[in-house]
């Protein structure tokens, strides 16, 4: 869609964690570097060419709110095909994978959630918890 949208957020009114989530939800940004960009945390941006998101960094307990927000967006998306690009993810924890699996099961279209570039941690966790793979379709890079 040929559209440019500017979103403004008042840093004085937002908690750092909330600002991190909002920053991760935009393709580009202006202003001071938010905390998540100087620490190896989890960041999320929408994919440019198709419905979906790219996760970057490292997902753990500290990034649970980012994971929950992303999963909520995935679950609510009306898109038939949606992709989660994990190729820039250094680490994925089981709680984040469970969030993603929950979202895949709730998708209104019922089509599998497409995972691109899944890190070794995802494959290892699916060995331990095969049921988390329901609704997920892991493909290559």
């Amino acid at each position: 869609m040929p559209l440019t949208a500017w979103c403004f957020y008042d840093r004085r009114l937002l908690a750092p964690d909330a600002l991190d989530v909002l920053t991760g939800a935009h393709l580009t940004r202006a202003g001071a570097v938010p905390r998540s960009h100087v620490r190896p945390g989890l960041s999320v941006v929408p994919l440019a060419g198709s419905p979906g998101f790219r996760l970057s960094g490292s997902a753990g307990y500290e990034s649970r709110r980012v994971a929950a927000s992303t999963s909520a967006a995935l679950a609510a998306s009306p898109a038939q095909d949606i992709t989660l690009d994990l190729s820039s993810l250094d680490h994925l924890d089981v709680a984040t994978l469970a969030d993603i699996a929950h979202a895949a099961r709730r998708r209104p279209s019922g089509t599998p959630l497409r995972l691109v570039g899944a890190p070794p941690a995802l494959h290892r966790m699916l060995e331990l918890f095969t049921e988390l793979g329901t609704g997920l379709q892991a493909v290559g890079q």
Partner: protein, 317 residues
């Protein structure tokens, strides 16, 4: 040779759950005692899980001659490499056959186990009595008499019934499982010059990066690197969630093992935590300790007055 059967007089310590130890000295004793048990149980239509060290598996298969689909053979050296994950496997098997009185052969300690592994395997044997109390299951545990005397003595404390080639008797030295577990809580040996990382929630990602780099430079193979990171992540995350919001991670290497230890102010209120496969989709979590047991070659947990210590071992390839 007297074959153990759930109806024999000595087995009636718990009217439902039976947990005998079989002491054997020769291969012939092992094949007769264990093989006959498997044949009898399978002939009665019971599902049988046989988890013994690999070298004995093929011998048993040939000796038993059981072609039935009801007998499952598992190499305990692999499945039970970490004694802390055996109980989950046994409960999974029993859960799959709730109506057919499953029978299990489990040999968690073999000649060559380290002292720390044998101690955790003894804890596992004690916890079997808690986990299966009142359940219609028989678990026969073979013990090689070539094992150290202290290990054989513990088997008398963790099995209500003990036997050998002459038959089975009630163990006069049987102890309450909690008492045995308490005795297994020996102080852990202090490492020399470990890498020490103090962490709170905001440090968790940095801790994973540091622990990952340290493991790589310490010689951990790429195959085990994922296991290492997942285990460290769960342990440090548990400290933040349940251990007072912060913890201390210590990393060190021995000749053939990488060790990660997490200390925090948490408590372990249930000795069976992590010993049963959790529902991964449960909103309550509860996956961390079980995952650590699955991913590591040995997990030692201690509860000193200061809190909780979780020590995880990964063997270098």
């Amino acid at each position: 040779m007297t074959t153990y059967t759930p109806t024999s007089a000595a087995s009636r310590v718990d009217p439902v759950f039976h947990h005998p130890a079989l002491f054997y000295t020769t291969e012939k004793d092992f094949l007769q005692g264990v093989g006959e048990f498997i044949r009898v149980e399978a002939a009665d239509g019971r599902p049988v899980l046989v988890a013994v060290p690999g070298p004995r598996l093929q011998l048993l298969r040939e000796a038993v001659g059981v072609e039935s689909e009801s007998v499952t053979f598992v190499d305990m050296r692999q499945a039970g490499r970490n004694p802390g994950r055996i109980l989950s496997m046994l409960q999974d098997f029993a859960d799959r056959h709730p109506q057919r009185r499953p029978s299990i052969v489990g040999e968690p300690i073999w000649v060559g186990r380290t002292e720390a592994e044998a101690r955790e395997a003894t804890r596992h044997e004690a916890l079997i009595n808690l986990a299966f109390a009142g359940r219609p299951v028989t678990i026969l545990c073979p013990y090689d008499t070539a094992l150290p005397e202290r290990v054989l003595a513990e088997a008398h404390r963790t099995h209500p019934v003990v036997g050998d080639t002459d038959g089975y008797l009630r163990s006069t030295r049987y102890e309450d499982p909690q008492t045995v577990c308490g005795d297994c809580d020996r102080p852990l040996e202090e490492p020399t010059d470990p890498l020490v990382l103090h962490f709170t929630e905001q440090d968790l990602a940095d801790v994973r990066v540091t622990a990952g780099h340290w493991a790589q430079t310490s010689g951990l193979s790429p195959r085990r690197h994922t296991d290492w990171l997942l285990a460290v992540n769960e342990a440090t995350g548990n400290s933040v969630r349940h251990g007072g919001g912060q913890g201390i991670l210590r990393l060190w290497r021995t000749a053939d093992t990488l060790i990660a230890e997490v200390r925090d102010r948490g408590r372990l209120t249930n000795a069976l935590v992590g010993r049963r496969r959790p529902d991964p989709l449960s909103p309550a979590g509860g996956r961390g300790v079980w995952m650590m047991h699955q991913l590591c070659d040995l997990v030692e947990m201690r509860t000193p007055p200061s809190g909780l210590i979780v020590r995880m071992h990964l063997t270098l390839d």
